[in-house]
């Protein structure tokens, strides 16, 4: 048995212990994590500095992008947001053991649909070490065991966080330590992806390339999105100022985000197309008007612009070239907005606002494990709710199916 199989098996066994750990103790563990991080900031910055030195070399050699380097770098703002994130999760309602509904099937035969954790989740993330803390918090709150696999660039930082997390968890003696794990080597990904017998869900957080590789190499359900090709459709009645503000925000506020806009479709009767283009160009955006760019995720200050003849053509374009992530219509006609929001088959469909709002924090989920373009399980930003499933509990008094099949008894199916 390889080391990784051993870790996964132990986590698999520990998952029910975590699920059964009282919410007070799960919240206590989270409080200890937030506290330990606050107390050990220097240690974290020290480890982060080691990673940054190694990564700076790679940037200089052209082996690592500046964007990745920036994501790796921790600062006071990121640290503060991260700690606040843990407290936000503590303040959220317990997502498990919630009775979704209860139904009396017949006298003395009561069915309850009750939330429970998914089980054991494998999370594979790249440069951002702050993601690890966020996801670990959500996992503990929802009673899921986790195997965390961090990127090699952040190895020292991740190790420092993990040590701090483990020390925090040890303060709650009932906490099953084997339910939270960190693994490192790239070889481990392959092993992890093959362990479909134990792992219920894989969540990749990283590049298109990483996510596509994972989706093609495992039988385990994968939650997430490979690409983020988001659109804005500017209808003929859209207000000029709103169009310019929202489009610019969606493109430049954070160009490498998955929810940044990549293509703007403009109705041929919208009167201010040239003004829009000039506004974007003046703000450093490069405009591309080329059919080959319809599937392009620039992650940069570059934007595809296309004129369309109708709302229907815009919808068709988005469903064909988009990634079913987030798309927005700018229009003064409510009916067109409704049509767009119904017909566009994306996790987020917005009216008169920026695609950049598609985010767990902005939606008020406290935190997110990622944004899903799946149409099974969870869709859009995934918070605590998306980490839970349910089970059916049936409470009886010795009833047999035979009596109902023979017609001796009848179901009355009364919701209670």
């Amino acid at each position: 048995m390889t080391e990784i199989t051993d870790i996964v098996k132990k986590a698999y066994e520990a998952k029910t212990k975590l699920y059964n750990l009282d919410i007070k103790l799960r919240d206590e563990a989270l409080k200890n994590i937030a506290h330990e991080i606050e107390e050990n900031k220097d240690k974290i910055y020290g480890a982060n500095k080691e990673d940054l030195i190694l990564s700076q070399k790679k940037v200089d050699e052209g082996k690592l992008t500046q964007a990745t380097f920036n994501r790796l770098k921790l600062d006071e703002n990121k640290m503060r947001d991260m700690i606040k994130g843990v407290y936000d999760v503590i303040n959220l309602e317990n997502p498990i053991n919630k009775v979704l509904w209860a139904r009396e099937l017949d006298k003395g035969l009561v069915l309850k649909k009750i939330t429970c954790p998914i089980g054991l989740i494998g999370i594979i993330f790249e440069a951002r070490p702050d993601v690890m803390v966020q996801i670990t918090s959500l996992a503990i709150k929802s009673g899921n065991a986790v195997i965390l696999k961090g990127g090699s660039e952040a190895e020292n930082t991740n190790k420092a966080f993990f040590e701090i997390i483990q020390n925090a968890l040890k303060k709650t003696p009932e906490f099953p330590l084997e339910a939270v794990n960190l693994i490192f080597s790239h070889e481990d990904i392959k092993s992890l992806l093959s362990l479909d017998e134990y792992i219920d869900l894989i969540i990749p957080r990283g590049s298109n390339k990483l996510v596509t590789y994972i989706q093609s190499n495992t039988k385990i359900p994968v939650l997430g999105h490979a690409s983020g090709i988001c659109h804005i459709f500017v209808d003929k009645t859209a207000k000029r100022e709103l169009v310019e503000n929202v489009t610019l925000d969606a493109k430049i506020q954070y160009p490498s985000a998955c929810n940044a806009v990549e293509t703007v479709l403009v109705h041929k009767e919208y009167p201010y197309l040239n003004e829009l283009k000039n506004h974007l160009i003046e703000n450093g955006v490069k405009i591309v008007e080329n059919p080959e760019s319809y599937s392009c995720e620039y992650s940069d200050k570059i934007l595809t612009v296309k004129t369309v003849n109708s709302l229907a053509e815009a919808i068709e374009h988005i469903n064909k070239y988009g990634s079913h992530h987030t798309d927005s219509i700018l229009t003064e006609e409510a009916e067109n907005a409704e049509k767009f929001m119904t017909m566009v088959d994306s996790a987020g469909v917005f009216h008169n606002t920026s695609t950049r709002f598609s985010d767990g924090f902005r939606y008020g989920f406290g935190a997110e494990v990622g944004i899903s373009t799946n149409k099974t399980l969870a869709r859009g930003p995934v918070g605590l709710e998306g980490l839970c499933i349910y089970k059916y509990r049936l409470y009886g008094e010795g009833q047999t199916v035979g009596d109902y099949a023979k017609g001796v008894k009848q179901f009355h199916h009364r919701d209670i």
Copy 2:
């Protein structure tokens, strides 16, 4: 482009039309289906007879089991239940366009989580032709396009049903006929499983072999279960009569059902073990007491019996050897029942009743597309709700993320 790819592409294009068809028209289409089936019973029985003649030969030659033959055979009872099933679905609430919750993120920025169909679903089923009508009804009600692939034994019956369904759908001129399809040849399964670009979900209904084949040969999410290894745990305090009635019902009421019990675990201090065994044997059940049978799904009047030392041992056994389908505890101790129902990681966890209750009709779902042991998307019996996902609609007034990032504006996240 092969014929099957062509059918799937057209269904993919038709899916939004079906999703946007008013619920009144979707219900009208269902009424017409029920009516047309009633009017054309003779045609169906005729087609079914052709299938039965061909299948009887196969049974005589040992190429087909008597059980499959029985599932293929339509009679007045099955026909009546099937038609009633369609009316039950009509009477269910519209599962799509339901606002699950709405939240004001800030003044004039409203987020709504709204149900929508999954999209295009491939359903692969074996002998039972009545399953086709049931599943088609659920798909139409939930606004999902479907590709149905029936078993070769039922080809004539399925074709007759499909022709009747198509004639019924034509009575609603707005109905997108290309959203409901039937395909036949075994070759088609391979093509179907490769079309992950268009198909959102595959639901197999059939043998362990069929389901396992499908799970191993597609990137499309598969909803269902391969095996049904269900357990009953007889605790030391369980009442003798209840134990004997429930166990017998769970085993013999319909031994080939996936929710029939396969293994009974008996607490070593339960005083009536011999009486239980005798009761089962007297009713034609063969008892096996052999560790090699722990993972056996007999689908027959055969039962594994094992003595265990404790509730914990029972739970461990079930999580290890079971198929996470449905498991029941028989006990007079409520605390043990709660522990069992929490710790056993199955879609159905029952107290003092038969595993055979794990079924969409008995749960009051009107109908089911299958029973899922998945832990993503739907779990347990899957009715209308399990065929829906949701999308996030965000209604704004030109807000930009930049204002919130800069602190010019703040989210207030007020549920409305």
